[in-house]
């Protein structure tokens, strides 16, 4: 038998007999399962999800669901093919033992695997004060059940809604409130909405959009406390500038936390920023060595990206979940040289205040921005982000048909500022600073230390928590 023939036989046997476990039953988990079967994997497949629901789509939750048009349970994802899996829904994974190759579940069960895919995604960051967070009328939005609860609260027509945090979800929720003609206050610590994702220049435009639509937008302030009434229902928020707002629905939209706690002790390169992996979805262990049996996909994955100086990027985007899962699943049942890289040009969209905001590339990688097409005043325009003379991202407001032109420029590492259009040039085509905030210093990064002296003994360990 030749070596290639032997390898092919190994792969064939593996696909017939191996046990694969997918932890996470959302978009990435589902698409990974489908890809495994599509690739000819016929062994036992287990899908573990902490929510009791079968895979559903999240983007509608902050839009048509909250608005009351679409019920929260009408978000079930279409299937691309049969997956013939054992679904363990409503039970969270609590540990990963790489020595015995088992996933531990909260009910005590151990699920053995030959390959495991980590697709546990993120959860909403809760309001930090537990007593205040427990007040009735205080919400977060991440899951389908969250959306159902919040939708009911909005349908009851509260006197005012307070949204804390003006990222994409917070802004979309504010937009829905205004469509429902509910008074809404948005409190944002940063200088403007969307600054983290799109920078201060675009943030300023987003701020105007909110105010034009009647949002009481307060930037540069934090909420220092929430106050409830005798029945334990939230009534008031106190801001860092001393002012207060009366609100009977408060939504904490403070971003997301990656679901990595269950990996503690697994010896993987996981932490605040996600689980490190190569561009093929293969997880790194704590030493930065790639593993053979652990894979990562979706919001929780963090991989080096060729277009962005090989920096590790975590992309909490819909197509990253789909395409990253498909690449990882392919690689789970193939061997070199048949590995496939996940070389996504990231992209996202957000519908708010009647404007379709779309982006391609990684805006926050840029330090300059230039308006390239259309009119900011009309909120119909395109802008490009650049760094060191190269285009790295673009954003469009109601100009989505042009986005792929910029996508191609980014893929080709085209010049910044990009060549001007032949028509519809904006009044000002000078690049200006994009005004991204300094990256916050995360407080919960686990510390890693090196131990051992002999090269064969050197390894990294997490410093034990005190």
């Amino acid at each position: 038998m030749t070596v290639p023939a032997m390898v092919a036989e190994v792969v064939r046997k593996f696909r017939a007999n191996a046990r694969i476990v997918i932890v996470g039953a959302s978009l990435a988990g589902l698409r990974a399962a489908e890809t495994l079967r599509e690739e000819g994997f016929s062994g036992p497949l287990t899908i573990i999800g902490d929510e009791p629901h079968e895979p559903y789509d999240r983007p509608p939750l902050s839009k048509q669901v909250l608005k009351g048009w679409v019920p929260a349970d009408h978000t079930k994802l279409p299937r691309l093919r049969e997956v013939d899996a054992q679904w363990r829904l409503g039970v969270a994974a609590t540990g990963l033992d790489r020595a015995t190759k088992q996933v531990r579940l909260e009910d005590g069960e151990q699920v053995p695997y030959d390959r495991v895919l980590i697709a546990t995604g993120t959860r909403a960051r809760q309001w930090p004060n537990p007593a205040e967070a427990a007040l009735e009328g205080v919400y977060t939005l991440r899951s389908r059940d969250d959306a159902a609860r919040l939708q009911q609260a909005l349908a009851a027509r509260p006197s005012r809604v307070l949204i804390i945090g003006a990222g994409f979800i917070g802004s979309e929720m504010a937009s829905v409130c205004r469509e429902l003609d509910l008074p809404v206050t948005v409190a944002e610590r940063g200088s403007a909405p969307l600054v983290g994702a799109l920078g201060g220049v675009i943030g300023e435009i987003a701020a105007e959009m909110q105010r034009d639509h009647g949002v009481d937008l307060r930037c540069g302030v934090g909420v220092s406390s929430l106050e409830g009434d005798a029945d334990g229902h939230v009534r008031r928020a106190r801001f860092s500038d001393g002012t207060t707002v009366e609100a009977d629905v408060v939504v904490a939209s403070l971003g997301s936390i990656r679901n990595v706690e269950w990996l503690e002790g697994s010896g993987l390169a996981s932490g605040f920023w996600g689980v490190g992996c190569d561009a093929g979805g293969r997880a790194f262990d704590i030493n930065g060595v790639v593993t053979d049996s652990v894979y990562v996909a979706g919001d929780v994955a963090r991989a080096p990206h060729v277009l962005y100086e090989y920096q590790f990027l975590a992309m909490e985007h819909w197509d990253n979940a789909v395409l990253g899962a498909q690449a990882a699943a392919h690689n789970m049942v193939n061997l070199e040289p048949h590995y496939r890289p996940h070389l996504l040009l990231p992209g996202f969209w957000s519908g708010q205040f009647g404007v379709n905001i779309k982006s391609v590339g990684v805006p926050s990688f840029g330090d300059e921005i230039v308006f390239t097409q259309g009119s900011v005043e009309e909120r119909r325009f395109a802008a490009a982000y650049g760094r060191r003379g190269r285009i790295v991202a673009a954003v469009t407001f109601n100009h989505g048909k042009w986005l792929e032109y910029y996508g191609q420029l980014i893929e080709e590492s085209g010049p910044f500022p990009p060549p001007p259009p032949g028509w519809d040039r904006p009044d000002d085509t000078k690049p200006i600073p994009a005004q991204f905030p300094e990256l916050g210093v995360p407080t919960a990064i686990p510390e890693v230390v090196l131990t051992g002296h002999d090269p064969s003994e050197r390894k990294a360990v997490f410093r034990p928590r005190r």
Partner: protein
């Protein structure tokens, strides 16, 4: 039935809204929202919409009627 629209691909041509306006809605110039699990009576219209999409962004469940076998 179940559908999902890849809104990264979507460029706002709104062909789906013309063909199945109870399932797909446009607000503003190009913001598309839709009912992800529409009634079965919308099937023909949704199929028309999916076929008409200039960027083929509409995915319809391929297991319609088949056992989805999700057991909690």
């Amino acid at each position: 039935m179940r559908i999902v629209v890849d809104l990264n691909r979507c460029q706002g041509y709104a062909q789906c809204v013309f063909l199945a306006h109870e399932v797909f809605r446009l607000s503003g110039d190009e913001t598309l929202t839709y009912e992800p699990n529409p009634d079965d009576e919308q099937r023909l219209r949704v199929q028309r919409a999916a076929a008409a999409c200039p960027v083929q962004a509409i995915v319809i469940d391929r297991l319609e009627g088949a056992e989805r076998s999700v057991t909690p």
